[in-house]
Amino acid sequence: MLFNSIDFAIFSPIVFILYWFLTNKNLRLQNLLIVTSSYVFYGWWDWRFLSLILFSTIVDFSVGRKLHNEENQVKRKILLWTSILVNLGFLGFFKYYNFFLDNFISAFSFFGTEIKANSLNIILPVGISFYTFQTLSYTIDVYKRKLEPTTDIIAFSAFVSFFPQLVAGPIERATHLLPQFYTKRKFSFLNIQFGFIRILNGLFKKVVIADNFSNVVDLVYNNPESFGGIHYIVATIFFAFQIYCDFSGYSDIAIGTARIFGFKLMENFRMPYLSKSIGEFWKRWHISLSTWFRDYVYIPLGGNRVSKSKTLTNIFIVFLVSGFWHGAKWTFVVWGAIHGVILIVENLIRLKGNIQKSKYHRASASIKVTLVFFIVCFAWIFFRSNSMNDAAYITSRLFDFSLPLAKELRGMTTYLGLPLWKFVGYFVLIGVLFIQDYLIENDKLSEISIIRMHPILRWSIYTFIILTILLFGSFDVEQFVYFQF
């Protein structure tokens, strides 16, 4: 079930009423409702994949319980690896089986050995990368004795399958989300208003910005031979905002929906395109994933408590794995590698995001923000390209401006298939987004500041956003970009 669908618009009020007005007296019943509705929400895509969630839930719940009681270190390790292998096994099979098979075949044929193996027609279960990481965090934290394992299977099932963040995060830590299922939630009008504003903002980002931009991005990236340097640059800038608005829009809706049900989810984005370094960018972009990799990969590898060269290697490994997590394609691996390399360079030259205030502070910060934005955009080329060949083709012709931006089509001048007013309008949208991010960054705009306004003014803002979504929204795009990961 998609957040921007009629199905969800009907589903969520029903769950809301049952949750707050029918099951509110009994916490276990309320959690059971969350589990049931989450399974309905997930099963809406393909009910067969519910078995994966169920299996993962049972395995991790049992492993967690056993880990708590087990004192033998070897047995504890076996238990941990059982959970890791089950979870990563699912992920590996559904997401990476064909990738590894194809690459093995290519590698052997390179050395003159022909191997015949048929790739499988595997459908990737929606959100598998997200809930797998979430359940893994539980087992690892229990193993490290950072968390008491739960004895409540319903609360644990609700933690694994909690529908607002089930398919695309934020990837919650058991230490943060699980205790919220043990605590009685109170109906709060403030939470509902907060949630509603977040949902509206998320829908605006998704339907008005991301889905409109995707048409232009797809046009260029699905047929790069027909375009030139200026088109690649504009399409990549649009993609930078498409993926930001698509994913942060989803996170906003997830956070907003969870808040309406009395849960606080972690923030996943904090104005990433205002970053002054790549290091800072990763503290602002997909925070739940980058902190997951920090805690469960980077630190166990030694983090920065080892030699400088080992630290830099660890950084590179984390970004390589992060790229691979996004998808079974070399383009994602290269994307991760680019970020890793830049971060290593930043570490070596000690480029810091927060520089000392000086009279050149603003100018220097603006230059850094711009520079970081273009580096991130360059990496996005690999992320978005359909193949490494396409990415190489685009990067090699990035500064070939022989083809003009405007094109005559049936007597009309179009810019990447758009009339001028729409093309300019897209840049206006980017401007609006930047202003919004700037105001939020400087504490001049927040959910609370809107909630504190006079009701008529507040309702006018809601009406304006809804009208904007209805007028300018694109309702043809079906998926959120990050669902494929």
Binding site: S188, I192, R458, T463, I466, L471
Partner: protein, 326 residues
Amino acid sequence: MKTEINKFIKYSVGCCLFMFSTLYIIEGSISYLVTKSNNSQTGKVNLVMSHVIDPNVLIIGSSVSEVGFNIDILEKKLRTNAYNLAIDGTPILKSKFLIDEFLTYSKNCDTIIIGLAFFSLCELGEIHSPERFLAHKSNKFVKRNIKKLYPKIHTKISYIPFYSFVLANHTYYKNAILGLKNILSCNDMIKSDPLKGFVPHDATYLNTHDQNNSLRKLNFSEESITQFKEILVKIRNHNITPILIITPMHKNGQNAFENYSDYPNLVNRIAKETNTQIVDFSNSEITRHEDYFYNNGHLNVTGAVKFSTSISDSLLQQKARTHNTW
């Protein structure tokens, strides 16, 4: 808890009322302004919906008819008044509501000329340019037409609040602005179009058929044929004579289909079965001249003159045979 719920109910009701009434007023105002536009296709729909046009001869059809029927020539030759109500991209069944509405009020019309193109009786595709009739979505004929052809869209328009905002495109809002201008300048909707719905296209021929492409096939729809026959009966029941015209298509265009000849045969069969007059241009001299077309399906200005003159002559001959009066 109780206080919070009371607060929630109080503010939610207030907020919903505010939002719904504001959006309703905006939607209604835009829709009203669109109905006052005389621009292009939306303008034509408005002329019928507001009962402004009532010619003796009404032409209906798609873009082929819109660029082909030169009203000035028809009026002079036939000594009558006429209006070209053909709408671009719209086979007759998609704009059936226009005929239904026209028949409810027309007092002067005695002939409806139906310009048919090769796709007119094929399976109907997706909804085309809904912004042209969206402002009249409450009209019973529009509703019926949408319900029959696009039940899903009908459900959404009927049950999803403010769905017209989603369905409308920038042309709709452009028409709202033009409508506002018309209101402010007290424009006469019909006088502002001296060509009376005819849209001449001044361009030279371009063969859009790629010889290397495989031949296309016309898939006629039994349902479309039945509905079309019902329209003919309905027109006749209002004492109006329907006349079918198979509009000319350049030979290159005809050759792009493996079964083009089935189309004039089918229309001739319908004409015979329903006892309707027909003028067939599928094999006329016009179809062999590139000078008359700007692409394989559409006549240019010169072609429109030739076609309109020919059609007037044919109609006059038929009139002489049947003793009809214009």
